[in-house]
Amino acid sequence: MLKTTPFHSRTAPLVRAQTWRRWAGHQVASAYEPLPEHEYAAIRNAAALFDVSPLHKYRITGPQAAHLLDRMVTRDLAKCAVGQVLYTPWCDAKGKVIDDGTISRLDRSTFRLTSAEPNLRWLSMNAVGLDVRIEDVSDRVGALALQGPLSREILRQVSPADFDALKYFRLVSTTVRDVPVTISRTGYTGDLGYEIWVDAANAVAVWDALIETGTPYGITPAGIWALDLARIEAGLVMLDVDYFSAHHALIPDQLSTPFELNLGWTVSLEKGPYNGRRALREEKARGPSWSFVGIEVQWESLEAIFAERGLPPHLPNIAWRTSAPVYKGNQQVGYATSGCWSPLLKKNIALAHVMQPHIAIDSEVRLEVTVEHRRKQADAFVRKLPFFDPPRKRA
């Protein structure tokens, strides 16, 4: 049996087409409606409510908690004030990414780390000799993501916190209808949005409060299909889809460094020793051999490929996650790992790894597409990520 989340009693009756999927051993909704279009639209137009409880969550406390995290992740914890959240990957000694997630500094010596995979063992190994306590609180903390342009309006109605003062990647300890929560201005959609962290025992009350208050604002429970479209538009990587953990990779080709995942901005070269620092410094000096970019398929080219078979272009409702080769001339120069039709941008987009330094931003490449059982190559442009970055995200 898969585990259920603290919100299951509320989400389960809403999953009309029984479109469930697994996420970190949990049962979560792919979509509540048979198709994810309304749920996606809510992210970009109103507010979408996601149950993101399956994230692994660790509470790290003690005088040397910051030191532990600093030793482990690529970002500089000295720059993480109380009430701040950092997004960061972490690497093995060779600078290859193990996982990525967020670190919230709840007070001077208390942090919450989220991750896609279990990291208790890795945390413990890095904590040897440090005065620090690590707890896996994954099952004890429920998490909701409220994402979209009206998310702030809704939260204002249910919580006394000052949301105008809550900046991007900051958090606040507050209440939702008298239930204690932390609310961080974070998310996986590239839009204005918040994540709400609550004791599992009180989870349902928070869900109910948000749905009740949010309904006049168009709040819409949304599943992973909708989230996937948004995160591709936002150019955000996903473990096991866009890259493999260094803990699981079977061959060197499956490994990636932060630089190769467009996460060079998270790598501090100045701070004290951490896993992979030397390798990353060397890579920085040398220049990475791959980059992670956007691919924008040219519509006319796609239309022509379909027209050859007498069809109008067919576009999927949900994102694809199969690897598709990227070509330049007769050479394969990379591969796309996920992509979708962006309902907002009206573009066929993908996330791809391309070889460096040969493939520049805005250069022309071709992406393999299969039309009526035949492999074809559609003309495409390499684009800088993200595809979508609205000012309201930070405003």
Binding site: H38, N45, L150, W299, P312, P313, L344, L345, K346
Partner: protein, 527 residues
């Protein structure tokens, strides 16, 4: 009188086609000026806050056929285009039941099976045929209409291409296309379906904006227009624009400005200046004159030819043709500000059906009787209505918990017995509310504000002659190489340097932008 600096092109009218033309001309490097009479842009695609806190797409209310190439060429998503899904259609029936069509094909099939197993199966085959029909017609929408009577090289080559395209359809589909072009929508649908509310709801899309009933020959063709949206559905350009249809106009205007076009509102054009058979600029109502090498009118053919230029400058046949060109506005609009959600008897309570369209089309006879009233010069006592609640899709359209409702109403003939008066308008609005109340009894108690627009109001506010929402009926005798008149379907006029780009030219109708784009490409290609 002041003489302003010279422009390469002046566009008269800031409706969506005028703005599209301006954007394409500016994109081609032309120094372009748009002149709009009203204080806001958009023509019939405008959003206005008619009642404090409530925003309405006052006239045109959904995006259906906006050309994908325009969205791409002008990068409209970057300029604010954001189309939200609006997919279900629910038809309340007189026995308290309903017929629904949902976004999910399985759900829709199950729903139809509830009423007729035969129709549920026929729908699959019908859908495939209409797909092929729409594919057949699609290239026509994207082309400058060739004149079949002309022997010019470009006309002949277009005709040959078109002929080849038609031959490639094969006999079965060609015959089906012929039927679609000539039959009434009721007769055509009778060949396929048995369930009356289904036939009625489908044929309703065949009468929108025309002075035809579901049993009038020629109405089947308009069915096809509906399916055109479906094949472009791949591009998903169908739905509700965030912020209302005015936001589409604004996005096109923003694209035009980004390419360097200048746009002026509150700038009514009085007439086009013509010297020696050539347009030299425009004169504004305030007396200003502005020179330009090219003048483009996005207004309907009556304004374009008879008002802005005048009969004296035009060949007699064209004047006759424009005078005979059929406007005959047949629809009205009722916009409501509501304090809460309506409760439909057939589907009580809030629900996803309120995020789609509600169609008041219980039977083909109902629609035909609605037409009968109009035929004899009265508004329909029991009209066809297409109802959407935009605030259910875009919460920004109304204060939280309150709603805006848009009701498209047919028939409301422009030529009503005794002419439109305030009393007639009031009576028309009451007939609409009364009809709606039969299906949603709480509607009257929710109304905070009511705006009733008759074809006469539409004409007066937007300038659309006789209030026709398509700048002239989409009837076969005035489509393709006959739109707006034989010999003048290629966006030109008899006056050199004077062009037309409104929906009164091919292919016209809806927030498509195709006329504006094709006209601009013709102008750029000519000079």
């Amino acid at each position: 009188m002041t003489k302003a600096r010279r422009y390469d092109a002046i566009i008269i009218g800031g409706g969506h086609n005028g703005l599209v033309a301006a954007a394409y001309l500016a994109r081609a490097g032309r120094k372009t000026l748009v002149l709009e009479r009203r204080p806001l842009l958009g023509g019939a695609a405008v959003t206005e806050e008619i009642f404090p806190g409530f925003k309405f797409s006052v006239f045109s209310y959904v995006v259906s056929l906006l050309r994908p190439e325009i969205i791409r060429d002008l990068e409209l998503p970057k300029h604010g285009l954001q189309i939200l899904p609006l997919e279900s259609t629910v038809t309340p029936m007189d026995n308290g039941d309903y017929l629904a069509s949902w976004a999910d094909p399985d759900e829709s099939r199950r729903e139809l099976e509830r009423h007729s197993r035969r129709d549920a199966e026929a729908a699959v085959v019908f859908g495939r045929l209409m797909h092929h029909m729409a594919m057949a017609v699609k290239p026509i929408i994207g082309m400058v209409p060739p004149d079949p009577s002309s022997l010019s090289r470009s006309d002949l080559s277009s005709l040959v291409k078109l002929g080849g395209h038609m031959r490639s359809l094969g006999a079965e589909r060609f015959h089906a296309l012929h039927k679609l072009m000539t039959m009434s929508s009721a007769d055509y649908l009778d060949e396929w379906y048995e369930f009356d509310p289904l036939k009625a709801t489908k044929s309703a899309s065949g009468i929108i904006g025309t002075f035809l009933g579901p049993r009038s020959p020629g109405s089947a063709y308009v069915l096809l227009h509906h399916y055109m949206g479906e094949i472009d559905g791949a591009f998903r350009a169908w739905g509700f624009q965030k912020g209302g249809t005015g936001a589409i106009s604004e996005s096109i205007a923003s694209a035009a400005r980004a390419h360097g076009a200048e746009i002026r509102t509150d700038a009514a054009v009085d007439r086009v200046l013509v010297r020696n058979g050539r347009a030299t600029g425009v004169a504004l109502s305030n007396g200003d004159q502005i020179d330009a090498a090219v003048v483009v009118s996005s207004l309907d053919p009556r304004h374009t030819f008879l008002d802005l230029v005048g009969e004296a400058e035009l060949p007699g046949e064209l004047v006759d043709a424009v005078k005979r060109y059929k406007f005959r506005g047949s629809s009205g609009k009722v916009n409501l500000a509501l304090s809460g959600l309506p409760r439909f008897t057939c589907m009580p309570g809030p629900g996803r059906h309120l995020r789609g369209a509600m169609s008041i089309s219980p039977s083909v006879e109902y629609l035909e009787r609605a037409y009968d009233d109009a035929k004899y010069g009265e508004f329909s006592r029991n009209p066809y209505m297409d109802i959407v609640i935009p605030s259910m899709i875009d919460p920004g359209m109304a204060p939280p918990g309150q709603h805006v409702m848009s009701i498209f109403v047919q028939y409301a003939p422009y030529h009503i017995n005794g002419g439109w008066t305030d009393a007639k308008r009031e009576a028309f609005g009451n007939a609409v509310i009364r009809t709606l109340a039969r299906y949603a009894p709480n509607i009257e108690s929710l109304i905070l504000h009511k705006q009733v627009l008759t074809p006469a109001d539409i004409e007066q506010i937007t300038g659309l002659s006789e209030g026709n929402i398509f700048q002239g009926e989409l009837a076969l005798q005035q489509l393709f190489f006959l739109r707006p008149a034989a010999g003048w379907a290629k966006y030109r006029t008899p006056i050199r340097g004077y062009w037309q780009c409104g929906a009164g030219t091919h292919p016209g109708g809806g927030i498509m932008g195709a006329s504006g784009r094709l006209a601009a490409l013709q102008i750029v290609g000519t000079k």
